[in-house]
Amino acid sequence: MTARSAAAIASLALLSATGCTNFYEVPIETPIQAKLDVSAFRRVLVAGFISGGSDDVDANMETVRLLRSQLRSKTNLRIIEAEPLPLVQLAGEQAAKTAAAPAATPAPETPATPGALPATPPAAPAGEEAKSPTSKEGSTVRTKKDLEKFDRIFADAAFWKKLGEEYESPLIVTGTVMFTPQQTSGFVNEQREVYDQLGRRQVIPTRTYKERKGFVLEPKFVFIDGRTGATIYSETYRREVLYSSQQTTPALASYFELMDQLLPDFLGALSTQKIRGTRILLR
């Protein structure tokens, strides 16, 4: 219960106590308009995500699964069930190919097998070839900097257009998901109860050194028009959770805890959301 709802209940109680019957509490649903007009699309393809960070959670698979189930239950869009694209690998392979090819030679057309990258792959910056993301050590994205190498795939309209054609021009949802473990230590302000010799209770502010661990979730959702391959909208979020170092929380549980916080915002981009609350009508 938030402080605000507690205050609401308290003031209602006060109004009731004073015998005032000129008010009526009513439930209301306040609609929040969608950020995007997706009326042109009847279908949505959650294509896959470039994911990285923790090895304990396959953030690509989990995000695809979660977003599909949310979109299915909370929007009118039809969900396309397709294998999530392994975007890290695809972008990495193409980046490596481009880096290997002479700069003047245009990249050859790649076969349009489902899930494979088409004609214009995103080029990796020079010098990054050695630690290609597809190589054994480089295939895992550990930091946000690693992600930057792949980011340009979202601007590759030809790639997304081709993918869109395969699925009858849906709205495409893709992006990046970083789910990283974090550990912090330092002094934390706490209130400590102490009792003096006379048994009187006192609360003393203390600073305690604490070690805490948890996770940071940083997804970037990119919405692409499957008819043109152009990015319609993108949004980045950051949520983190910290537990005491003694507590053992599975990474997947933390992932869902953090995603739960983001889902209303994600869904709010595509469909009208309703916020439930109460208001007081007066006579």
């Binding site: 609609p31 208001r279 007066l282 006579r283």
Partner: protein, 117 residues
Amino acid sequence: MFFRALALLAAILAFAPPASADARSDSKAQVEFGIKVAQNGLWKEATYRWEKAVQLDPTYAQAWNNLAIGYEHDGRFDDADKSYQRALKLDPKSVAIRQNYDLFKEINDRTKRRRDR
């Protein structure tokens, strides 16, 4: 004849309630009907009634409050904001109006922030 009619008119005017009281009672009837239908989920009709109520008596703070709630329910945030502000201006000490406005503002501010991002 003329004097008799004049006397009758004077009597009517003397015993008739003031015009503002009429407006308030008519407005109150609209507000009460609006509350009843809103409680049954008929928010469009309720909003229409409260719009009528504030037309009849623009100084009726409670009617403005209800109208603001009606607009809020309809997603008309700008209109709701103006109506709440009007209600608060007319009755700045009302805890209920203040509370409704605070709850509305929280949602409205969040929506604005999202739109600006």
